[in-house]
């Protein structure tokens, strides 16, 4: 038993650290570590920096411009980026569509789309969920009817993350009405400039604009834009959802947030003691630290199990559940420990407003925003169902 990375992996870790120290812009770190929203330009700038180094597409083979990294190297890279406060990468092109195209795309599709993901010409968004079909994708209703060389799409997608910045969307649409709801679904690529598409913002509980609704009215999409065979979109989507799950425990993000908490707790005093000395908050903090350390090792164990194969369903489900619990626990402690200082919404006004300690400004919105973690990408209830299915099968 050995928890250490191999010499090669340690060298890689040092290389990543050095690169981040050199190339990660301070203004982006300041934003992520205070939980502020990133602009489109922020994200594109960081993508470009990584792309210049050849480190943007961690999960793609080298022949397509990917890194060819092992799962351990990918993990190291993700963790170091999170700890350094780098922006989260856009998963839609890199972690979702890219692997799908590499596996199921035609040569033309690969040649057309993969380079545009890397160099930033395309910003993809995801069109899976629909109102009434969140975790239950098989019940989706958006339909695509064949009309010559085109599909004509009508319907509505929702929870489309950062769709406001995107120029393309990949969708699951119903191309055939069949008995089994999973059949008759196809995976298509849609240019958001196509007439008949309307994107409307959904404002979230913390006031942020992060997700959208997308309405399709007689949207004509070339038949060539299908990925995989017609009516076999379910297979493609399942492949995508497995790939999406790398780094699902989010250990790096939790570690960064817990570091921030400790820093804050040392600095902020309340009723005569620093929060670090307040026994009830301090006890919560050390228990979360233990939880996080356990999660870190559990995650490495899962990584080791899947080093050369795809992640197992039960591992990634358990990592999802526990990872979100730990992260949400940390953000809840952070918010609650600040007490009355976290109450004012000091960011929503421009002048004559309360000057809060910088730690307090985003504590509540970040907490609220991250309640999403246990809901999206398959809610924790769905994950429990998945694990139970494995545990209780005969």
């Amino acid at each position: 038993m050995n928890l250490d990375y191999s010499d090669t992996e340690q060298a890689f870790q040092a290389e990543v650290r050095a690169f981040l120290a050199e190339n990660l812009p301070n203004d982006l770190v300041a934003k992520t570590s205070s939980g502020r929203e990133l602009t489109k330009e922020d994200i594109e700038r960081w993508h470009a920096i990584l792309n210049a180094r050849g480190w943007l597409a961690a999960t793609w083979p080298e022949e397509y411009g990917g890194t060819g990294w092992t799962v351990v190297e990918r993990h190291i890279f993700a963790e170091e980026c999170a700890l350094a406060g780098a922006p989260r990468l856009l998963s839609f092109g890199l972690a979702m569509l890219g692997p799908v195209l590499i596996r199921y795309g035609t040569d033309e599709q690969k040649a057309e789309y993969l380079p545009r993901i890397l160099d930033g010409r395309d910003w993809w968004c995801q069109g899976f969920s629909e109102p009434g079909a969140g975790s239950d994708l098989a019940s989706l209703k958006t339909r695509a009817e064949r009309d010559g060389d085109h599909y004509v799409i009508n319907g509505q997608k929702t929870w489309t993350t950062l769709g406001q910045h995107a120029n393309r969307i990949f969708c699951l649409v119903r191309t055939s009405q069949t008995a089994k709801p999973q059949e008759g679904i196809s995976f298509v690529l849609v240019d958001l400039d196509t007439p008949g598409i309307e994107m409307r913002p959904i404002r979230l509980i913390d006031g942020s604009h992060e997700v959208n609704e997308v309405f399709f009215t007689d949207v004509r999409v070339p038949v060539a834009n299908i990925v995989g065979a017609e009516n076999e979109g379910w297979t493609v989507a399942k492949y995508l959802l497995t790939h999406e799950r790398t780094n699902i425990a989010g250990v790096g993000f939790s570690a960064r947030d817990l570091d921030r908490y400790h820093q804050m707790a040392t600095d902020v005093r309340r009723d005569g003691v620093s929060l670090a000395e307040h026994p009830l908050y301090a006890a919560q903090a050390v228990e979360l630290e233990a939880d996080l350390e356990a999660l870190r090792v559990a995650n490495l164990r899962a990584l080791a199990r899947t080093r050369d194969s795809a992640a197992s369903g039960i591992d990634s489900s358990l990592m999802k559940i526990r990872g979100t619990q730990v992260r949400q626990g940390i953000l809840s402690l952070y918010r609650s420990a600040l007490g009355h200082a976290a109450a004012p919404d000091a960011e929503s006004l421009s002048d004559n407003q309360i000057a809060l300690p910088p730690e307090a400004t985003r504590a509540a919105p970040v907490y609220f925003n991250n309640r999403k973690l246990s809901i999206y990408g398959g809610s924790n209830e769905i994950q429990r169902n998945i694990v139970a299915k494995t545990l209780f099968r005969d």
Binding site: S129, G132, G134, S135, D136, A138, S139, T158, W159, I202, R203, L204, I205, G207, V268, R269, R270, D271, G272, H278, L280, Y281, S332, R335, S336, L338, G339, H340, A341, A342, A343, P344, D345, A346, S348, L349, N352, Q353, I354, A355, P357, A364, P365, Y367, F368, R371, K372, S374, I375, Y376, S379, N380, E381, R384
Partner: protein
């Protein structure tokens, strides 16, 4: 032993509830709660005309009683309707002015001509009055910084707790332009401010003792607990209803046993929250006031968080959206623990009381 509301209270709740249902709509809240002065002035004036503030004041001052139960009836409706208007600051200010014998000001407030706010806590002080750093000199000039002054934006009477040679004193600033009011909305809407006092002239009030201030804070805490009960009750009902109508995997999601059990636990906690609030209300003004108030605020800190987080989770994505009123109820229930001491603050206060009693 009787847990039924009196006829007067039932009427008050009914009238005020109907008023709030019309005035505290999501649309009006969106328009007003995050923009200075962070409340709906028209609705507030109508509320004053309805005489609701009478519930905060005793009968000899023209009120309807001012008992903790009167206050809790009003605040439960505020919670149920998710009103973000400045009731809490008004309640605490009114009480302190009444106890100081400022009858004229009390009447003006009740008539809607003026509105008070009460400044007690400071950036690093949120519970322990003995640590208050704002000072008053012999001439009544105040220096210090006050935080979390609820309803201060737009208020025209500022009551300030400040230290003088006798201990803790209470001061009134009638010329609010003499103070720098750093205003902001709260995360969940409604006005809050820091006050910068730099030798600001103020008038000493009579009701000046740590004891009396703590009493008014306890009344504020009870008000917040009642508000939480109203909001929790509404939110748990909304969540139950949502599960009934929402379908997934071809089934009504209310049929999933794991979700059912979680709703049962939420329902149970609403009843526990209501019960501990009733206890605190009944003990107000007795020797058990501090203990039962802190128990209530502590338990509700836990129960409200549980209900809020579970409600968001059980709703799924929709519970995360600004457009869905349930999300704002959840937000209010979480942020309520940030006012007048949270769960851990009140646990520590209870531990300290136990130590005092043992000594």
């Amino acid at each position: 032993m009787n847990f039924e509301r009196s006829e007067d209270h039932a009427m008050l709740a009914d009238m005020f509830g109907r008023f709030l249902q019309e005035t505290s709509t999501p649309e009006r809240r969106n328009d007003t709660a995050w923009t200075a002065p962070f409340f709906d002035q028209t609705a507030w004036s109508e509320m004053v005309k309805l005489g609701i503030l009478g519930a905060f004041v005793s009968e000899d001052l023209g009120g309807l009683g001012g008992s903790a139960e009167d206050v809790s009836v009003v605040f439960e409706e505020i919670g149920r309707a998710l009103s973000t208007d400045p009731y809490l600051g008004t309640l605490m200010g009114l009480r302190l002015l009444a106890e100081s014998g400022e009858t004229d000001l009390v009447k003006q407030i009740m008539a809607g001509a003026r509105r008070p706010a009460f400044a007690v806590f400071e950036p690093e002080i949120s519970q322990d009055l003995s640590l208050i750093g704002t000072v008053a000199d012999e001439d009544g000039k105040l220096t210090g910084r006050k935080s979390s002054v609820y309803g201060a934006p737009g208020a025209d009477l500022l009551l300030i707790a400040a230290r003088n040679d006798q201990g803790l004193g209470l001061y009134l600033i009638e010329d609010v332009t003499s103070v720098q009011v750093l205003a902001a909305p709260m995360q969940d809407g409604g006005g809050i401010a820091d006050l910068l006092l730099e030798g600001t002239q103020a008038r000493p009030l009579k009701a000046a003792s740590e004891e009396r201030i703590e009493d008014v804070l306890d009344l504020g805490r009870i008000a917040l607990c009642a508000e939480a009960v109203g909001a929790m009750d509404a939110l748990v009902s909304m969540t139950t209803d949502y599960l009934k109508q929402r379908k997934q995997f071809g089934r009504n999601i209310a049929s999933f046993q794991a979700l059912q059990h979680r709703i049962v636990d939420m329902t149970m906690w609403v009843e526990q929250a209501r019960s501990i609030t009733i206890r605190a209300v009944a003990s107000y003004g007795t020797g058990d006031q501090r203990r039962h108030t802190s128990m209530a605020k502590n338990l509700i800190g836990r129960a409200a968080e549980l209900c809020a987080e579970e409600a968001i989770q059980l709703h799924g994505g929709i519970g995360m959206t600004w457009e869905y009123p349930g999300a704002h109820y959840a937000k209010r229930l979480i942020m309520l623990d940030h006012q007048l001491g949270g769960r851990h603050d009140h646990a520590m206060r209870l531990i300290a009381m136990k130590k005092e009693n043992a000594a």
